[in-house]
């Protein structure tokens, strides 16, 4: 039975599918024609057919096949035309891909920044800078006393020496600081308020209590810059939407113009089709498919551009997030986002062509 495996090989399957689609119909057809038009052969050879038959022909399934054939033909012949003029196609698709990748790249960057901002928000905290004359031991005691406050979730003490160590590791100014002889950094107590403290007034109250403590030199709420970051993010998000809209319009116009040129190049064909009774939708079809292919390929190319962009940015961003000890993973386009990207690009391609065609075909008169 091992030898039978061969029959399921890929080319065999293709051949089988092909035969089932066409071969058997080919075999079936002559019989049917003889049944339906018994005198057909003779008439066709001796004299021309009259106008007896109304404008309809073939049975329903043949017509249905014809309909799908037309679409399939339009789909692939429009692809063929793109390949036939590679330079024009590549130039158009590159321009569109750049526009689309700008929009989707912006989207990805904002998504990543939002994730970063989200991590920062989780650590939104109050920093208490202690007076210089407070010893490490007293600082510890103070920290422990704060921990007992019910509004406080977590307390972390960073002593002068720990702060110095960290500073030396990351800043690169280690030697310079050492030469000062004295550690200029204060002891810092980082207080994370209870999650329930969303209320700004309560946070202010807590902050004021800390400010009045004897050990505290000054207190600062990190919230403020998180807020600022958040509003900046909102700004970036909106800018992204505006940018995408503008670039979307650009994509519409570029595809529209490409299709207009193609229509111009195939004007003769369109005119002849109109003269022999083509409807506008018949004429539009291959051009709409051209628009689809242009949009689709631009989307694919844009995806690759964004991917390369992200690969280049991956290391610096991950280093940055390492500094914050954040739980940060670089985001890339998910499967569904990729599908949306391809869908929108294809849709823009079709819409751009459609807008131009419905206008141009209205204008175009035979001869």
């Amino acid at each position: 039975m091992k030898g039978r495996k061969n029959t399921a090989s890929f080319p065999n399957i293709l051949a089988m599918i092909f035969r089932s689609l066409y071969g058997e119909r080919e075999k079936r057809m002559p019989a049917r024609h003889q049944r339906h038009h018994p005198k057909n052969k003779k008439t066709a050879q001796t004299r021309p057919d009259g106008p007896q038959t109304r404008v309809s022909g073939g049975d329903f399934s043949d017509k249905l096949h014809a309909y799908f054939d037309l679409h399939a033909h339009a789909l692939f012949s429009s692809l063929g035309r793109l390949v036939d003029s590679p330079y024009t196609s590549i130039m158009t698709i590159t321009v569109l891909a750049i526009a689309i990748s700008l929009a989707s790249g912006f989207y990805i960057v904002v998504a990543n920044l939002q994730q970063l901002a989200g991590n920062l928000e989780a650590s939104n905290q109050i920093s208490l800078f202690l007076r210089d004359d407070i010893s490490d031991a007293n600082a510890r005691k103070f920290a422990a006393s704060i921990k007992r406050n019910p509004s406080v979730q977590e307390v972390k003490l960073i002593t002068k020496s720990e702060a110095m160590e960290e500073f030396q590791t990351y800043s690169g100014f280690g030697e310079a600081v050492k030469s000062l002889g004295k550690n200029p950094l204060p002891n810092v107590v980082q207080v994370l308020p209870e999650n329930a403290l969303e209320d700004r007034q309560e946070l202010e109250n807590l902050l004021n209590t800390f400010k009045q403590a004897f050990e505290v030199d000054f207190a600062q709420m990190d919230m403020d810059w998180v807020r600022r970051l958040q509003s900046f993010m909102e700004l970036a998000r909106r800018a992204g939407i505006l940018l995408s809209l503008l670039l979307g319009v650009a994509v519409l116009f570029v595809t529209g113009n490409t299709i207009r040129l193609e229509l111009h190049n195939r004007r003769e064909e369109v005119v002849i089709a109109k003269l022999v009774g083509a409807t506008n939708s018949f004429i539009q079809r291959p051009f709409l498919y051209s628009g689809f292919w242009i949009g689709f390929f631009s989307g694919v190319a844009a995806w690759f551009i964004v991917a390369v962009m992200m690969l280049i940015l991956k290391r610096p961003i991950e280093e940055l997030s390492g500094l914050y000890e954040g739980d940060f993973h670089l985001l890339f386009l998910s499967y569904s986002e990729t599908l949306v990207l391809l869908f929108i690009s294809s849709l823009l391609g079709v819409l751009g062509s459609w807008a131009v065609l419905s206008y141009q075909l209205q204008q175009l008169k035979p001869e």
């Binding site: 021309p48 073939g58 043949d62 005119v271 022999v276 083509a278 506008n280």
Partner: protein, 234 residues
């Protein structure tokens, strides 16, 4: 999919394929090109449309194919009033007419088969029906066996036969030919005319615009004569 065309039958025009009733055509640039034209053609009738160059022959044919619209008067094609035809109905009206041109209007980058098949693809025929009809049509014009050739590989007479095969492949009840032999020598012209006679014999209405008086006079058919946009004899 196919919307029924509005029909307008009147009892007296039952057997009339084409009826012009006081039709005028005015172009803004050139003024009245056709003036007060009235005539009709019976189903299966064959007629010549003649007149000097610029008399309005092509314009008259364009009105029938709704390539242009009349400025005044009524045109009835197979019972349909063309004045009332909406833009989206025009393609279906054109499928009733086989158009033939002096310059053949063939697609040079398509084979003979594909050129002739075009009207059938447009009308939505299946591939087997298309193949059968294209062959039958090419057979009628004596070009069976040249399906795979490109138009430029054919002589002028053969190219015009391809144009005729394309015009009749859909079995339209009417054929309009605008100077079909204008680019052909007399012998080929006579052959083409003989083809038209064959279509007329099986019931197709044929209207041929031509200014080739000698050719027309050899054949015994009705002649509509235009002179500066007016019908002077019919």
């Amino acid at each position: 999919m196919r919307k029924p065309l509005s029909t307008h039958y009147s009892s007296t025009t039952e057997n009339v394929m084409l009826k012009f009733d006081r039709v005028s055509k005015r172009y803004p640039e050139t003024g009245d090109v056709l003036r007060n034209i009235s005539f009709h053609l019976q189903h299966g009738e064959m007629a010549f449309l003649t007149g000097h160059s610029g008399a309005g022959k092509s314009t008259l044919l364009k009105l029938i194919a709704v390539i242009e619209r009349s400025s005044r008067g009524q045109i009835l094609l197979d019972g349909h009033n063309l004045n009332h035809a909406k833009d989206r109905q025009i393609p279906y009206l054109r499928r009733k007419i086989g158009l033939i041109f002096q310059d053949y209007k063939l697609l040079q980058d398509r084979t003979v088969f594909d050129n002739v098949a075009l009207p059938l693809l447009i009308a939505g025929y299946g591939r087997h029906e298309v193949s059968r009809r294209v062959r039958a049509s090419l057979d009628k014009v004596g070009l069976l066996g040249k399906e795979r050739k490109y138009p430029l590989a054919l002589s002028g007479g053969e190219q015009q036969r391809v144009g005729i095969a394309r015009a009749v492949v859909n079995k339209p009840p009417m054929i309009l030919a605008d100077e079909p032999t204008g680019n052909l020598d007399p012998e080929l012209s006579a052959e083409i005319m003989h083809l038209f006679e064959q279509f007329q014999q099986v019931g197709v209405t044929v209207l041929i615009a031509s200014h080739d008086i000698s050719l027309i006079s050899q054949m015994n058919y009705r002649v509509l004569k235009l002179d500066h946009g007016q019908l002077v004899a019919s």
